[in-house]
Symmetry: C2
DNA sequence: GTGAAAGCGCTAACAC
DNA sequence: GTGTTAGCGCTTTCAC
């Protein structure tokens, strides 16, 4: 229609030099009239690039992932990349399967919030991808770009605060050790507790509502009850909170409580829960930037470490009978 | 390597009849050895189908969408479809843009949780897609498959409950009328309130944390304060709850409270909040099934209506000074 | 500056 | 049953 060859159209499309303004105009006009839109699939067959990024998450009902996805999308979208979502529903087998499926789609890169870092053969499966970025994960033997979170600092800060208040019997309910975040939190917890560390006050469970609930019921039995509890996984918090309500235990009078990730449920609880906080959108953004850089050129794998911060609200106070009095232990504030 | 032609390989791949078991075996073996994986892009160029479904959401930080996406994925994934995510960040302009981008990708179908149903030219833009399913949306002039939610029944039930308790001054804070859900809730609210309807107790705002907060602060001023409040949008609830805490108002003694969607924050609040509930995963599932059916064959657009249920917990009681006493108004239960 | 033609990896029609 | 071949819609040499 513009009386030019396909190659010229292609040149206009990819704004090559060496096209007359006049030709360019004619082609643009024709495109407009014909409502022409280039076929991404055909283009990628030729160029080898799909402008699609696979995003593998363990469980996208976890609000953390929405935030991460938003962060990643905010840098990827303006450059014309689309996110292809793959939910592994916390199943390692399905995880390798969705990764293979994304490979078949020839996505340009992969963003991985894996359910399980130790799945056999994971490294080999990831080799086909031009770019892989791990989101707060650590796959044995895999050296690739990563965005990590410094979970230890948050735990140390929280522990410091609790111990300063006089707590000695501090418990932790965490996810499973197949994820770096949990391993880091456990490590920091052991470290920070030092001589006071008590194996019986530590509990790792699948990050599900019910398991959190059950673990809390068990851990918070009257006999030898801890005076403080750190919830070391986002998705465990709701279940643990409901267990605390059932017993019932007053927070912070009977139990000081700290959780990870700043969700509505923690912020708007009465009392507001002290949290070990981070910026999940920043994680997504950083990961996307690393991915883009990798797609651009080569170089050694990079690592970005993102901070955590412990934020005091009103869910911690001196343990009962400790003789220490803080504003937080003011009985007026308690339910 | 299997000493056969490409077409035979293709036949094995698409398990056509008329291939000897022996040949099939040889090809399978070669595929295995060569780690061969068919190229989805090339295949779709030939067949015209990409096995990719675009999922447009207004705001994927809304946990409702994760639930819907999980539901959709649970039926799409087993059939080899991938979800391509597109976040319109509540911006109508960006919405048309991401829809165009999904068109360029030649996705087989579209699942739409639009931010704005009234964007000009939306209908035309959607014509290029082989299948479009609206998720609880109503685009003027567009007749396509839809999964709707019966919001009215939930509102009527809640209103019936509140009025039976003796409430007359019932307020509603809702999202904006660019979404069907809000329009339905408003309509049902007007209807259900009948002669008691008071324009000043109705408020529509952008579904953001702050706007919910501000609207609540304004609506709940001491003068002429309503005795009950229905929160008619998921994402408004947190802001409204924080406003209630600031004032502070006791729930349900000073204010009976009802919200939409059963989120952790509502269920685990003290007291647990009465909710108008639905099953978002079912919505996603139903939408995916409609989409698949449309991809299969033709026929008139179908509509599936999903129910809502009002669930009483502990956040509603008779209004103060009404003389009616219910277990829920027991002062022990209040903060 | 622009056109002709090859080829990306697949499927399907047609031969045999 | 299996092979040969055209062509999906693009980009990219290579001519001119």
């Amino acid at each position: 229609m513009a009386r030019v060859s396909v190659s010229t159209v292609s040149r206009v499309l990819n704004d090559h030099p060496y096209v007359t303004d006049e030709t360019r105009r004619r082609v643009a006009e024709a495109m407009d009239v014909l409502q022409y839109r280039p076929d991404v699939a055909a283009r990628s067959m030729r160029t080898g690039a799909t402008r699609a990024i696979g995003f593998v998450v363990a469980d996208f009902s976890n609000p953390l992932f929405s935030a991460i996805a938003m962060g990643a999308d905010s840098v990827l979208h303006p450059l014309g990349y689309s996110l292809v979502l793959a939910n592994s529903v916390r199943d390692p087998e399905r995880e390798t399967e969705v990764i293979a499926a994304l490979g078949d789609r020839r996505v340009d890169g992969l963003l991985l919030s894996l359910a399980d870092e130790r799945t056999a053969g994971l490294r080999e499966r990831l080799e086909v991808f031009r770019a892989v970025v791990l989101l707060d994960r650590d796959v044995p033997g895999l050296h690739c770009d990563r965005v990590l979170t410094d979970h230890a600092t948050g735990i140390h800060e929280a522990l410091g605060h609790l111990r300063a208040l006089g707590h000695r019997r501090i418990a932790m309910i965490a996810g499973t050790e197949v994820q770096r975040a949990t391993r880091e939190r456990l490590r920091a917890f052991r470290e920070g507790m030092g001589d006071f560390f008590d194996e019986r006050l530590l509990c790792t469970v699948d990050p599900l509502l019910e398991s959190g609930h059950d673990a809390a019921r068990h851990l918070l039995e009257p006999r030898d009850r801890p005076t403080a509890l750190i919830v070391a996984h986002n998705q465990l918090f709701a279940g643990i909170l409901s267990a605390i309500r059932e017993l019932p235990l007053r927070v912070p009078a009977d139990l000081s409580l700290v959780t990870c990730e700043d969700v509505d449920l923690a912020r708007l609880n009465e009392p507001p829960i002290d949290v070990i906080n981070r910026d999940p959108a920043a994680l997504g953004q950083a990961a996307a930037e690393l991915l883009l850089a990798r797609l651009e050129g080569n170089g050694p794998p990079r690592e970005i470490m993102l901070p955590t911060h412990f934020e005091i609200r009103s869910s911690t106070s001196a343990p009962q009978g400790s003789g220490v009095l803080t504003p937080d232990s003011d009985p007026e504030k308690e339910t």
